[in-house]
Protein backbone atom coordinates (compact mmCIF):
# COMPACT_ATOMS: atom_id res chain seq x y z
CA UNK A 1 0.00 0.00 0.00
CA UNK A 2 2.64 2.41 1.07
CA UNK A 3 4.54 1.98 -2.20
CA UNK A 4 1.39 3.23 -3.97
CA UNK A 5 1.11 6.21 -1.62
CA UNK A 6 4.80 6.94 -2.29
CA UNK A 7 4.34 6.65 -6.08
CA UNK A 8 1.31 8.97 -5.97
CA UNK A 9 3.39 11.59 -4.19
CA UNK A 10 6.44 11.22 -6.40
CA UNK A 11 4.35 11.29 -9.59
CA UNK A 12 1.67 13.71 -8.38
CA UNK A 13 1.58 15.60 -11.68
CA UNK A 14 1.14 12.46 -13.82
CA UNK A 15 -1.61 11.24 -11.46
CA UNK A 16 -3.58 14.49 -11.74
CA UNK A 17 -3.21 14.65 -15.54
CA UNK A 18 -4.41 11.03 -15.87
CA UNK A 19 -7.36 11.76 -13.54
CA UNK A 20 -8.34 14.78 -15.67
CA UNK A 21 -8.23 12.74 -18.84
CA UNK A 22 -10.24 9.90 -17.33
CA UNK A 23 -12.95 12.10 -15.76
CA UNK A 24 -12.80 15.12 -18.11
CA UNK A 25 -13.21 17.21 -14.98
CA UNK A 26 -11.17 20.11 -13.66
CA UNK A 27 -8.33 20.04 -11.13
CA UNK A 28 -7.57 22.93 -8.78
CA UNK A 29 -4.32 23.57 -6.87
CA UNK A 30 -4.60 24.68 -3.22
CA UNK A 31 -1.96 25.97 -0.83
CA UNK A 32 -3.21 25.35 2.71
CA UNK A 33 -5.50 22.85 4.49
CA UNK A 34 -8.02 25.59 5.30
CA UNK A 35 -9.41 25.17 1.78
CA UNK A 36 -12.83 23.37 2.13
CA UNK A 37 -12.16 20.39 -0.19
CA UNK A 38 -15.74 19.20 0.52
CA UNK A 39 -17.11 21.95 -1.77
CA UNK A 40 -14.55 21.23 -4.52
CA UNK A 41 -15.48 17.52 -4.51
CA UNK A 42 -19.12 18.57 -4.60
CA UNK A 43 -18.31 20.39 -7.86
CA UNK A 44 -16.48 17.25 -9.14
CA UNK A 45 -13.20 19.16 -9.06
CA UNK A 46 -10.02 17.41 -7.90
CA UNK A 47 -8.25 19.45 -5.16
CA UNK A 48 -4.45 19.03 -5.42
CA UNK A 49 -2.17 20.43 -2.73
CA UNK A 50 0.70 22.55 -4.13
CA UNK A 51 3.93 21.74 -2.28
CA UNK A 52 7.60 22.45 -3.02
CA UNK A 53 10.37 20.37 -4.61
CA UNK A 54 13.08 21.20 -2.01
CA UNK A 55 15.32 22.88 -4.61
CA UNK A 56 16.59 26.47 -4.13
CA UNK A 57 13.66 28.67 -5.38
CA UNK A 58 15.82 31.42 -6.97
CA UNK A 59 13.17 32.12 -9.66
CA UNK A 60 10.81 33.57 -7.03
CA UNK A 61 13.18 36.40 -6.02
CA UNK A 62 11.38 39.15 -8.05
CA UNK A 63 8.01 38.16 -6.51
CA UNK A 64 8.58 37.15 -2.87
CA UNK A 65 11.21 38.68 -0.52
CA UNK A 66 13.59 35.92 0.55
CA UNK A 67 12.90 36.56 4.24
CA UNK A 68 9.58 34.71 3.90
CA UNK A 69 9.59 30.94 4.52
CA UNK A 70 11.05 28.50 1.99
CA UNK A 71 7.64 26.76 1.60
CA UNK A 72 5.82 29.73 0.05
CA UNK A 73 8.74 30.43 -2.30
CA UNK A 74 9.20 26.77 -3.20
CA UNK A 75 5.46 26.43 -4.01
CA UNK A 76 5.53 29.51 -6.26
CA UNK A 77 8.69 28.17 -7.95
CA UNK A 78 6.76 25.02 -9.02
CA UNK A 79 4.22 27.25 -10.75
CA UNK A 80 6.84 29.50 -12.37
CA UNK A 81 8.67 26.37 -13.65
CA UNK A 82 5.45 25.20 -15.30
CA UNK A 83 5.17 21.96 -13.29
CA UNK A 84 1.48 22.66 -12.52
CA UNK A 85 0.48 23.74 -16.04
CA UNK A 86 -2.35 21.15 -16.01
CA UNK A 87 -4.36 22.70 -13.14
CA UNK A 88 -7.36 24.78 -14.13
CA UNK A 89 -7.31 27.13 -11.17
CA UNK A 90 -5.91 27.91 -7.72
CA UNK A 91 -7.68 28.36 -4.38
CA UNK A 92 -6.36 29.55 -1.02
CA UNK A 93 -8.08 29.41 2.36
CA UNK A 94 -6.66 32.30 4.37
CA UNK A 95 -3.94 31.27 6.75
CA UNK A 96 -0.49 32.92 7.03
CA UNK A 97 0.93 35.94 5.17
CA UNK A 98 3.58 33.72 3.60
CA UNK A 99 1.34 31.38 1.58
CA UNK A 100 -0.86 34.37 0.71
CA UNK A 101 2.06 35.79 -1.27
CA UNK A 102 2.50 32.50 -3.15
CA UNK A 103 -1.20 32.70 -4.11
CA UNK A 104 -1.07 36.36 -5.18
CA UNK A 105 2.18 36.03 -7.13
CA UNK A 106 0.73 32.92 -8.87
CA UNK A 107 -2.48 34.84 -9.69
CA UNK A 108 -0.48 37.77 -11.08
CA UNK A 109 2.25 35.98 -13.03
CA UNK A 110 1.05 32.49 -14.01
CA UNK A 111 -1.88 32.34 -16.45
CA UNK A 112 -4.87 30.61 -14.76
CA UNK A 113 -8.56 31.16 -15.39
CA UNK A 114 -9.76 30.67 -11.79
CA UNK A 115 -8.03 32.20 -8.72
CA UNK A 116 -10.16 32.37 -5.56
CA UNK A 117 -9.17 33.48 -2.06
CA UNK A 118 -11.48 32.43 0.80
CA UNK A 119 -11.22 34.77 3.83
CA UNK A 120 -11.28 32.00 6.44
CA UNK A 121 -11.45 34.06 9.68
CA UNK A 122 -8.53 34.10 12.10
CA UNK A 123 -10.80 34.72 15.11
CA UNK A 124 -11.80 31.04 15.26
CA UNK A 125 -12.17 31.33 19.05
CA UNK A 126 -14.95 33.95 18.56
CA UNK A 127 -18.65 32.88 18.32
CA UNK A 128 -19.04 35.12 15.25
CA UNK A 129 -16.49 33.16 13.15
CA UNK A 130 -18.88 30.39 11.96
CA UNK A 131 -21.63 32.67 10.57
CA UNK A 132 -18.93 34.79 8.87
CA UNK A 133 -17.27 31.74 7.24
CA UNK A 134 -20.67 30.35 6.20
CA UNK A 135 -21.27 33.46 4.10
CA UNK A 136 -17.72 33.29 2.68
CA UNK A 137 -18.34 29.65 1.65
CA UNK A 138 -21.64 30.65 0.01
CA UNK A 139 -19.71 33.16 -2.14
CA UNK A 140 -17.08 30.50 -2.93
CA UNK A 141 -19.79 28.00 -3.97
CA UNK A 142 -21.39 30.58 -6.26
CA UNK A 143 -18.02 31.42 -7.83
CA UNK A 144 -17.46 27.68 -8.54
CA UNK A 145 -20.95 27.40 -10.05
CA UNK A 146 -20.36 30.43 -12.31
CA UNK A 147 -16.97 29.02 -13.35
CA UNK A 148 -18.10 25.42 -14.03
CA UNK A 149 -21.57 26.42 -15.24
CA UNK A 150 -23.03 23.65 -13.05
CA UNK A 151 -25.23 24.08 -9.96
CA UNK A 152 -23.91 22.52 -6.72
CA UNK A 153 -26.87 20.81 -5.02
CA UNK A 154 -27.23 19.66 -1.41
CA UNK A 155 -26.71 16.09 -2.65
CA UNK A 156 -23.41 17.14 -4.21
CA UNK A 157 -22.34 18.74 -0.92
CA UNK A 158 -23.36 15.61 1.02
CA UNK A 159 -21.25 13.52 -1.40
CA UNK A 160 -18.28 15.86 -0.86
CA UNK A 161 -18.72 15.79 2.93
CA UNK A 162 -19.02 11.99 2.93
CA UNK A 163 -15.88 11.53 0.80
CA UNK A 164 -13.80 13.79 3.11
CA UNK A 165 -15.19 12.43 6.39
CA UNK A 166 -14.68 8.80 5.31
CA UNK A 167 -11.09 9.41 4.19
CA UNK A 168 -10.25 11.21 7.44
CA UNK A 169 -11.90 8.55 9.57
CA UNK A 170 -10.03 5.70 7.86
CA UNK A 171 -6.70 7.54 8.33
CA UNK A 172 -7.51 8.09 12.03
CA UNK A 173 -8.09 4.33 12.31
CA UNK A 174 -4.65 3.69 10.78
CA UNK A 175 -3.16 6.20 13.26
CA UNK A 176 -4.56 4.10 16.15
CA UNK A 177 -2.05 1.36 15.26
CA UNK A 178 0.74 3.78 16.14
CA UNK A 179 -0.24 3.59 19.84
CA UNK A 180 0.99 -0.02 20.06
CA UNK A 181 4.29 -0.72 21.78
CA UNK A 182 5.50 -1.91 18.36
CA UNK A 183 3.65 0.43 15.94
CA UNK A 184 2.34 -1.13 12.74
CA UNK A 185 3.47 1.80 10.59
CA UNK A 186 6.49 4.12 10.66
CA UNK A 187 6.32 7.91 10.89
CA UNK A 188 7.49 8.15 7.27
CA UNK A 189 4.65 5.88 6.14
CA UNK A 190 2.09 7.95 8.10
CA UNK A 191 3.34 11.13 6.40
CA UNK A 192 3.18 9.43 2.98
CA UNK A 193 -0.38 8.26 3.68
CA UNK A 194 -1.63 11.77 4.55
CA UNK A 195 0.43 13.61 1.89
CA UNK A 196 -0.80 11.29 -0.86
CA UNK A 197 -4.39 11.90 0.30
CA UNK A 198 -3.85 15.64 -0.21
CA UNK A 199 -2.91 15.10 -3.87
CA UNK A 200 -5.24 12.30 -5.04
CA UNK A 201 -8.96 11.48 -5.36
CA UNK A 202 -10.35 10.80 -1.88
CA UNK A 203 -12.53 7.83 -2.87
CA UNK A 204 -9.61 6.14 -4.67
CA UNK A 205 -7.40 6.86 -1.61
CA UNK A 206 -10.05 5.53 0.80
CA UNK A 207 -10.29 2.20 -1.09
CA UNK A 208 -6.56 1.70 -0.53
CA UNK A 209 -6.98 2.60 3.16
CA UNK A 210 -9.69 -0.05 3.57
CA UNK A 211 -7.37 -2.72 2.15
CA UNK A 212 -4.54 -1.41 4.38
CA UNK A 213 -6.76 -1.66 7.49
CA UNK A 214 -7.45 -5.33 6.67
CA UNK A 215 -3.73 -6.10 6.50
CA UNK A 216 -2.46 -3.97 9.41
CA UNK A 217 -3.40 -6.33 12.28
CA UNK A 218 -1.12 -9.03 10.84
CA UNK A 219 1.57 -6.66 9.59
CA UNK A 220 4.95 -6.96 11.22
CA UNK A 221 7.56 -4.30 10.55
CA UNK A 222 10.19 -6.59 12.15
CA UNK A 223 12.23 -3.62 13.27
CA UNK A 224 12.99 -2.42 16.78
CA UNK A 225 10.83 0.72 17.25
CA UNK A 226 13.49 2.20 19.59
CA UNK A 227 12.68 5.64 21.08
CA UNK A 228 9.00 6.77 20.63
CA UNK A 229 9.25 10.23 19.02
CA UNK A 230 6.71 12.88 18.02
CA UNK A 231 7.24 15.59 15.37
CA UNK A 232 5.44 18.95 15.79
CA UNK A 233 5.48 22.29 14.00
CA UNK A 234 5.50 24.14 10.68
CA UNK A 235 4.27 22.55 7.42
CA UNK A 236 6.64 19.65 6.84
CA UNK A 237 6.74 17.29 3.88
CA UNK A 238 10.45 16.46 4.23
CA UNK A 239 10.31 12.68 3.91
CA UNK A 240 14.12 12.37 3.75
CA UNK A 241 14.38 13.73 7.30
CA UNK A 242 11.73 11.29 8.55
CA UNK A 243 13.51 8.33 6.90
CA UNK A 244 16.93 9.31 8.23
CA UNK A 245 15.72 9.87 11.82
CA UNK A 246 13.89 6.53 11.90
CA UNK A 247 17.12 4.82 10.79
CA UNK A 248 18.85 6.00 14.00
CA UNK A 249 16.87 3.78 16.40
CA UNK A 250 13.64 5.70 16.81
CA UNK A 251 10.08 5.80 15.44
CA UNK A 252 7.78 8.77 14.94
CA UNK A 253 4.68 7.40 16.65
CA UNK A 254 2.74 10.64 16.31
CA UNK A 255 2.83 14.09 14.69
CA UNK A 256 1.11 17.45 15.05
CA UNK A 257 1.47 18.70 11.45
CA UNK A 258 -0.95 19.97 8.79
CA UNK A 259 0.61 17.19 6.66
CA UNK A 260 -0.41 14.72 9.37
CA UNK A 261 -2.82 14.56 12.32
CA UNK A 262 -4.11 18.14 12.03
CA UNK A 263 -5.43 17.30 8.51
CA UNK A 264 -7.50 14.30 9.64
CA UNK A 265 -8.51 15.02 13.26
CA UNK A 266 -11.90 16.69 12.74
CA UNK A 267 -15.01 15.71 10.72
CA UNK A 268 -17.93 17.72 9.32
CA UNK A 269 -20.91 17.22 11.65
CA UNK A 270 -24.01 16.86 9.40
CA UNK A 271 -26.49 19.78 9.60
CA UNK A 272 -29.46 20.91 7.54
CA UNK A 273 -27.40 23.89 6.30
CA UNK A 274 -24.48 22.10 4.60
CA UNK A 275 -22.32 25.21 4.31
CA UNK A 276 -22.88 25.94 8.02
CA UNK A 277 -21.75 22.37 8.80
CA UNK A 278 -18.59 22.74 6.68
CA UNK A 279 -17.87 26.21 8.13
CA UNK A 280 -18.21 24.80 11.68
CA UNK A 281 -15.68 22.04 10.87
CA UNK A 282 -13.06 24.54 9.60
CA UNK A 283 -13.61 26.93 12.56
CA UNK A 284 -13.65 24.24 15.25
CA UNK A 285 -10.85 22.03 13.82
CA UNK A 286 -7.40 21.84 15.46
CA UNK A 287 -6.22 25.34 14.44
CA UNK A 288 -3.11 26.44 12.61
CA UNK A 289 -1.14 28.64 15.11
CA UNK A 290 -1.83 31.67 12.89
CA UNK A 291 -5.46 31.38 14.05
CA UNK A 292 -4.89 30.01 17.56
CA UNK A 293 -5.33 32.91 20.05
CA UNK A 294 -5.99 34.09 22.72
CA UNK A 295 -5.93 30.50 24.13
CA UNK A 296 -3.26 27.90 23.15
CA UNK A 297 -5.64 25.15 21.92
CA UNK A 298 -3.11 23.65 19.47
CA UNK A 299 -0.40 23.42 22.15
CA UNK A 300 -2.88 21.62 24.43
CA UNK A 301 -3.76 19.28 21.53
CA UNK A 302 -0.07 18.45 20.99
CA UNK A 303 0.30 17.67 24.73
CA UNK A 304 -2.82 15.45 24.66
CA UNK A 305 -1.56 13.53 21.62
CA UNK A 306 1.87 13.10 23.23
CA UNK A 307 0.15 11.45 26.24
CA UNK A 308 -2.27 9.33 24.20
CA UNK A 309 0.54 7.94 22.00
CA UNK A 310 2.95 7.75 24.99
CA UNK A 311 5.68 9.73 23.37
CA UNK A 312 9.17 9.89 24.97
CA UNK A 313 10.64 12.85 23.05
CA UNK A 314 9.41 15.47 20.56
CA UNK A 315 11.19 17.24 17.69
CA UNK A 316 9.83 20.80 17.37
CA UNK A 317 10.16 22.03 13.77
CA UNK A 318 10.17 25.66 12.61
CA UNK A 319 10.55 26.54 8.94
CA UNK A 320 13.04 29.39 9.12
CA UNK A 321 11.10 32.74 9.06
CA UNK A 322 7.78 31.00 9.95
CA UNK A 323 6.36 33.37 12.61
CA UNK A 324 3.13 31.59 13.66
CA UNK A 325 4.97 28.37 14.62
CA UNK A 326 8.12 30.21 15.73
CA UNK A 327 6.12 32.19 18.31
CA UNK A 328 4.70 29.00 19.86
CA UNK A 329 8.00 27.12 20.34
CA UNK A 330 8.72 28.16 23.97
CA UNK A 331 5.11 27.68 25.28
CA UNK A 332 4.90 24.34 23.40
CA UNK A 333 8.24 23.04 24.71
CA UNK A 334 7.37 24.09 28.25
CA UNK A 335 3.93 22.42 28.11
CA UNK A 336 5.50 19.16 26.87
CA UNK A 337 8.21 19.33 29.53
CA UNK A 338 5.58 19.51 32.29
CA UNK A 339 4.30 16.06 31.18
CA UNK A 340 7.89 14.72 31.08
CA UNK A 341 8.34 14.84 27.29
CA UNK A 342 11.80 16.22 26.39
CA UNK A 343 12.00 18.34 23.21
CA UNK A 344 14.62 19.63 20.79
CA UNK A 345 14.10 22.52 18.30
CA UNK A 346 15.00 22.25 14.58
CA UNK A 347 15.20 25.04 12.00
CA UNK A 348 14.15 23.72 8.57
CA UNK A 349 14.97 25.33 5.22
CA UNK A 350 14.46 24.46 1.53
CA UNK A 351 17.39 22.01 1.77
CA UNK A 352 18.31 20.39 5.07
CA UNK A 353 21.97 19.81 6.11
CA UNK A 354 21.62 16.19 7.33
CA UNK A 355 25.12 16.24 8.91
CA UNK A 356 24.12 18.87 11.47
CA UNK A 357 20.70 17.33 12.04
CA UNK A 358 22.07 13.81 12.49
CA UNK A 359 24.28 15.05 15.38
CA UNK A 360 21.35 16.85 17.02
CA UNK A 361 18.96 13.86 16.61
CA UNK A 362 21.48 11.25 17.82
CA UNK A 363 22.53 13.40 20.76
CA UNK A 364 18.84 13.92 21.61
CA UNK A 365 18.23 10.16 21.45
CA UNK A 366 21.31 9.62 23.65
CA UNK A 367 19.83 11.94 26.30
CA UNK A 368 16.54 9.97 26.14
CA UNK A 369 18.22 6.55 26.40
CA UNK A 370 20.86 7.99 28.73
CA UNK A 371 23.68 5.73 27.42
CA UNK A 372 23.13 4.24 30.88
CA UNK A 373 25.28 1.20 30.23
CA UNK A 374 28.35 3.36 29.67
CA UNK A 375 28.40 5.07 33.09
Amino acid sequence: MFTTFREWIDNRHEYAKAWKQKTENKAVGYFCTYVPEEILYAANILPVRILGSHEPPTVTEPYIFAMFCHLCRDCLAQGLKGRFDYIDGIVEGQSCLHLRQAFNAWRLHIPTDFAYYIHVPHGVQSPHAIPFLTQELAKFKKALEDWTGKKITNEDLDRGIKAMNKNRELMRKVYEYRKLDNPKITGLEAMEMVLSSQMTDKDEHSKLLEKLLEELPSRNLNRNPGVRLMIIGSEDDDRVFMKNVEALGATFVMDEHCTGSRYIWDDVVPHEDRLFAIASRYVNRVPCPSKDWPEFTRVNQAVKLAKDFNVQGALVIQNKFCDPHGIEIPPLREALKTIGVQTYPFEFDVTVPWGQFRTRVEAFLETLTGLAELF
Partner: protein, 265 residues
Protein backbone atom coordinates in the same frame (compact mmCIF):
# COMPACT_ATOMS: atom_id res chain seq x y z
CA UNK B 1 45.66 61.20 -25.11
CA UNK B 2 46.36 58.62 -22.38
CA UNK B 3 43.88 58.11 -19.53
CA UNK B 4 43.88 55.71 -16.54
CA UNK B 5 41.23 53.81 -14.57
CA UNK B 6 41.89 52.53 -11.03
CA UNK B 7 39.43 49.99 -9.60
CA UNK B 8 40.06 49.51 -5.86
CA UNK B 9 38.07 46.29 -5.19
CA UNK B 10 37.42 44.42 -1.90
CA UNK B 11 40.40 42.11 -2.47
CA UNK B 12 42.32 43.30 -5.57
CA UNK B 13 43.30 46.65 -7.11
CA UNK B 14 43.02 46.69 -10.92
CA UNK B 15 44.50 49.43 -13.12
CA UNK B 16 44.18 50.05 -16.87
CA UNK B 17 46.10 52.60 -18.99
CA UNK B 18 44.17 53.50 -22.14
CA UNK B 19 45.25 55.37 -25.30
CA UNK B 20 42.66 57.55 -27.08
CA UNK B 21 39.85 55.47 -25.58
CA UNK B 22 40.69 52.61 -27.90
CA UNK B 23 43.71 50.46 -27.16
CA UNK B 24 44.79 49.31 -23.75
CA UNK B 25 48.48 50.02 -23.16
CA UNK B 26 48.80 47.93 -20.00
CA UNK B 27 46.93 46.26 -17.14
CA UNK B 28 48.18 45.68 -13.58
CA UNK B 29 46.71 44.26 -10.38
CA UNK B 30 47.64 43.55 -6.77
CA UNK B 31 46.18 42.53 -3.40
CA UNK B 32 44.54 45.22 -1.26
CA UNK B 33 46.35 45.45 2.09
CA UNK B 34 45.34 47.40 5.20
CA UNK B 35 46.72 50.59 3.74
CA UNK B 36 44.43 50.89 0.74
CA UNK B 37 46.17 54.02 -0.53
CA UNK B 38 49.57 52.26 -0.45
CA UNK B 39 48.31 49.14 -2.27
CA UNK B 40 46.54 51.23 -4.97
CA UNK B 41 49.62 53.42 -5.47
CA UNK B 42 51.90 50.37 -5.82
CA UNK B 43 49.68 48.88 -8.53
CA UNK B 44 49.30 52.23 -10.31
CA UNK B 45 53.07 52.76 -10.37
CA UNK B 46 53.57 49.18 -11.57
CA UNK B 47 51.29 49.98 -14.55
CA UNK B 48 53.20 53.19 -15.31
CA UNK B 49 56.46 51.20 -15.20
CA UNK B 50 55.12 48.49 -17.57
CA UNK B 51 54.03 51.17 -20.06
CA UNK B 52 57.22 53.21 -19.59
CA UNK B 53 55.21 56.32 -18.71
CA UNK B 54 55.31 59.01 -16.00
CA UNK B 55 52.30 60.28 -14.01
CA UNK B 56 52.26 63.64 -15.81
CA UNK B 57 51.88 61.85 -19.16
CA UNK B 58 48.46 60.60 -17.97
CA UNK B 59 45.90 63.25 -18.96
CA UNK B 60 43.18 62.12 -16.54
CA UNK B 61 42.55 59.37 -13.95
CA UNK B 62 39.16 58.13 -12.69
CA UNK B 63 38.88 55.84 -9.66
CA UNK B 64 36.14 53.36 -8.83
CA UNK B 65 35.62 50.35 -6.54
CA UNK B 66 34.83 49.85 -2.84
CA UNK B 67 38.03 51.60 -1.72
CA UNK B 68 37.94 54.54 -4.16
CA UNK B 69 37.56 57.12 -1.39
CA UNK B 70 40.95 56.14 0.08
CA UNK B 71 42.84 57.54 -2.96
CA UNK B 72 40.65 60.61 -3.50
CA UNK B 73 42.55 63.93 -3.78
CA UNK B 74 45.86 62.24 -2.87
CA UNK B 75 49.03 62.10 -5.05
CA UNK B 76 50.34 60.37 -7.07
CA UNK B 77 47.11 58.93 -8.46
CA UNK B 78 45.02 61.99 -7.52
CA UNK B 79 41.97 60.93 -9.60
CA UNK B 80 40.04 63.76 -11.27
CA UNK B 81 36.82 62.01 -10.36
CA UNK B 82 35.55 58.97 -8.47
CA UNK B 83 32.56 56.98 -9.71
CA UNK B 84 30.51 54.11 -8.24
CA UNK B 85 31.38 50.64 -9.56
CA UNK B 86 27.98 50.30 -11.22
CA UNK B 87 28.67 53.24 -13.57
CA UNK B 88 32.23 52.07 -14.38
CA UNK B 89 31.04 48.47 -15.03
CA UNK B 90 28.34 49.73 -17.42
CA UNK B 91 30.78 51.92 -19.36
CA UNK B 92 33.47 49.26 -19.69
CA UNK B 93 31.16 46.34 -20.62
CA UNK B 94 29.20 48.46 -23.12
CA UNK B 95 32.47 49.53 -24.77
CA UNK B 96 33.57 45.91 -25.21
CA UNK B 97 30.08 44.53 -26.13
CA UNK B 98 27.73 47.31 -27.41
CA UNK B 99 24.76 44.87 -27.52
CA UNK B 100 25.06 44.38 -23.72
CA UNK B 101 21.77 45.08 -21.87
CA UNK B 102 22.38 43.25 -18.55
CA UNK B 103 25.81 43.24 -16.91
CA UNK B 104 26.66 40.94 -14.00
CA UNK B 105 29.81 41.76 -12.00
CA UNK B 106 30.87 39.18 -9.39
CA UNK B 107 34.01 39.96 -7.36
CA UNK B 108 35.45 38.57 -4.13
CA UNK B 109 32.92 40.14 -1.78
CA UNK B 110 30.25 41.88 -3.82
CA UNK B 111 27.91 40.97 -6.65
CA UNK B 112 26.25 43.58 -8.85
CA UNK B 113 23.66 43.58 -11.63
CA UNK B 114 23.36 46.56 -13.97
CA UNK B 115 20.65 47.30 -16.58
CA UNK B 116 22.26 49.36 -19.36
CA UNK B 117 20.46 51.82 -21.67
CA UNK B 118 21.77 53.39 -24.85
CA UNK B 119 25.46 54.46 -24.87
CA UNK B 120 26.14 52.47 -21.69
CA UNK B 121 24.05 54.65 -19.36
CA UNK B 122 22.83 52.95 -16.11
CA UNK B 123 19.06 52.34 -16.23
CA UNK B 124 18.68 50.25 -13.05
CA UNK B 125 21.04 48.32 -10.82
CA UNK B 126 21.04 45.92 -7.88
CA UNK B 127 23.88 45.17 -5.48
CA UNK B 128 23.85 42.04 -3.37
CA UNK B 129 22.65 42.58 0.15
CA UNK B 130 24.87 41.47 2.92
CA UNK B 131 23.16 38.08 3.25
CA UNK B 132 24.36 37.22 -0.22
CA UNK B 133 27.87 38.61 0.25
CA UNK B 134 31.15 36.83 -0.06
CA UNK B 135 30.80 34.85 -3.31
CA UNK B 136 34.52 34.82 -4.12
CA UNK B 137 35.84 34.32 -0.60
CA UNK B 138 33.32 31.53 0.03
CA UNK B 139 34.80 29.47 -2.80
CA UNK B 140 38.27 30.14 -1.39
CA UNK B 141 37.26 28.94 2.11
CA UNK B 142 35.60 25.83 0.72
CA UNK B 143 38.64 25.08 -1.45
CA UNK B 144 40.60 24.96 1.80
CA UNK B 145 38.08 22.52 3.31
CA UNK B 146 38.38 20.25 0.27
CA UNK B 147 42.19 20.59 0.25
CA UNK B 148 41.99 21.81 -3.33
CA UNK B 149 43.71 24.83 -4.91
CA UNK B 150 41.33 27.77 -5.48
CA UNK B 151 42.20 27.75 -9.20
CA UNK B 152 41.25 24.06 -9.47
CA UNK B 153 37.78 24.43 -7.92
CA UNK B 154 36.15 25.50 -11.21
CA UNK B 155 37.63 22.71 -13.39
CA UNK B 156 36.83 20.20 -10.61
CA UNK B 157 33.17 21.26 -10.65
CA UNK B 158 32.98 20.63 -14.41
CA UNK B 159 33.98 16.98 -13.88
CA UNK B 160 31.04 16.35 -11.52
CA UNK B 161 28.55 13.57 -12.26
CA UNK B 162 25.64 14.56 -10.01
CA UNK B 163 23.84 17.81 -9.07
CA UNK B 164 23.11 18.18 -5.37
CA UNK B 165 20.65 21.02 -4.56
CA UNK B 166 22.17 23.19 -1.83
CA UNK B 167 20.97 26.25 -0.01
CA UNK B 168 21.53 29.35 -2.13
CA UNK B 169 20.44 31.94 0.40
CA UNK B 170 23.74 32.54 2.20
CA UNK B 171 27.27 31.18 2.60
CA UNK B 172 26.84 30.11 6.21
CA UNK B 173 23.91 27.81 5.34
CA UNK B 174 25.77 26.56 2.23
CA UNK B 175 28.90 25.89 4.29
CA UNK B 176 27.00 23.74 6.78
CA UNK B 177 25.81 21.64 3.84
CA UNK B 178 29.30 21.38 2.33
CA UNK B 179 30.57 19.98 5.64
CA UNK B 180 27.73 17.46 5.56
CA UNK B 181 28.64 16.41 2.01
CA UNK B 182 32.33 16.01 2.89
CA UNK B 183 31.43 13.65 5.72
CA UNK B 184 28.95 11.62 3.71
CA UNK B 185 31.46 10.32 1.16
CA UNK B 186 30.35 12.62 -1.69
CA UNK B 187 33.05 13.05 -4.34
CA UNK B 188 35.04 16.29 -4.37
CA UNK B 189 33.84 16.94 -7.92
CA UNK B 190 30.17 16.79 -6.89
CA UNK B 191 30.83 18.96 -3.82
CA UNK B 192 32.68 21.55 -5.93
CA UNK B 193 29.74 21.60 -8.35
CA UNK B 194 27.23 22.02 -5.49
CA UNK B 195 29.29 24.98 -4.21
CA UNK B 196 29.37 26.68 -7.61
CA UNK B 197 25.66 25.98 -8.19
CA UNK B 198 24.84 27.59 -4.80
CA UNK B 199 26.92 30.70 -5.64
CA UNK B 200 25.37 30.94 -9.10
CA UNK B 201 21.93 30.54 -7.49
CA UNK B 202 22.60 33.42 -5.13
CA UNK B 203 23.86 35.76 -7.87
CA UNK B 204 21.04 34.68 -10.24
CA UNK B 205 18.34 35.44 -7.66
CA UNK B 206 19.83 38.94 -7.27
CA UNK B 207 19.87 39.53 -11.05
CA UNK B 208 16.36 38.11 -11.47
CA UNK B 209 15.16 40.91 -9.18
CA UNK B 210 16.49 43.28 -11.80
CA UNK B 211 15.13 41.33 -14.76
CA UNK B 212 17.24 39.67 -17.48
CA UNK B 213 17.49 41.32 -20.92
CA UNK B 214 19.75 39.94 -23.69
CA UNK B 215 22.74 40.31 -24.20
CA UNK B 216 23.89 39.28 -20.76
CA UNK B 217 27.58 39.94 -19.93
CA UNK B 218 29.49 38.50 -16.98
CA UNK B 219 32.51 40.44 -15.66
CA UNK B 220 34.60 40.52 -12.47
CA UNK B 221 37.05 38.03 -10.97
CA UNK B 222 34.52 35.17 -10.75
CA UNK B 223 34.06 35.28 -14.55
CA UNK B 224 37.46 33.58 -14.77
CA UNK B 225 36.14 30.59 -12.82
CA UNK B 226 34.95 28.05 -15.45
CA UNK B 227 32.74 26.30 -12.87
CA UNK B 228 30.66 29.42 -12.26
CA UNK B 229 29.42 30.21 -15.78
CA UNK B 230 27.47 27.01 -16.67
CA UNK B 231 25.21 27.05 -13.55
CA UNK B 232 24.66 30.81 -13.93
CA UNK B 233 23.52 30.30 -17.54
CA UNK B 234 21.19 27.52 -16.36
CA UNK B 235 19.67 29.59 -13.52
CA UNK B 236 19.08 32.63 -15.76
CA UNK B 237 18.37 30.35 -18.74
CA UNK B 238 20.15 32.63 -21.14
CA UNK B 239 23.42 32.81 -23.02
CA UNK B 240 26.12 34.80 -21.21
CA UNK B 241 29.07 36.55 -22.88
CA UNK B 242 32.39 36.91 -21.05
CA UNK B 243 34.80 39.55 -22.43
CA UNK B 244 38.60 39.28 -22.37
CA UNK B 245 40.20 40.17 -19.01
CA UNK B 246 36.80 40.28 -17.27
CA UNK B 247 38.22 41.51 -13.92
CA UNK B 248 39.59 44.66 -15.59
CA UNK B 249 36.28 45.83 -17.13
CA UNK B 250 35.55 48.16 -14.19
CA UNK B 251 38.97 49.79 -14.48
CA UNK B 252 38.54 50.04 -18.27
CA UNK B 253 35.19 51.78 -17.76
CA UNK B 254 36.85 54.24 -15.38
CA UNK B 255 39.58 54.97 -17.98
CA UNK B 256 36.86 55.63 -20.61
CA UNK B 257 35.05 57.95 -18.19
CA UNK B 258 38.36 59.74 -17.62
CA UNK B 259 38.46 60.40 -21.36
CA UNK B 260 34.95 61.87 -21.22
CA UNK B 261 35.64 64.15 -18.21
CA UNK B 262 38.89 65.27 -19.90
CA UNK B 263 36.89 65.93 -23.07
CA UNK B 264 34.29 68.06 -21.19
CA UNK B 265 36.94 70.24 -19.55
Amino acid sequence: MITAGVDVGAKYVKTVLLEDGKNVLTRANGIVGFDVWKSATEVFEKALLNAGLKRDQIAQVVATGMGRKAIQKKPPINPGEIVPEVIADAKGAYHLIPTAKTIIDVGAEEGRGVKVGENGKVKDFVINERCAAGAGTFIETMARALEVGVKDMGPLALKATKAIPMNAQCCVFAESEVVTLIHSKVSKEDIAKAIHDAMAGRIASMVLRLGVEKDVVLIGGMARNPGFLPPLKKELNTEILVPENPEYVGALGAALLALETEGQK
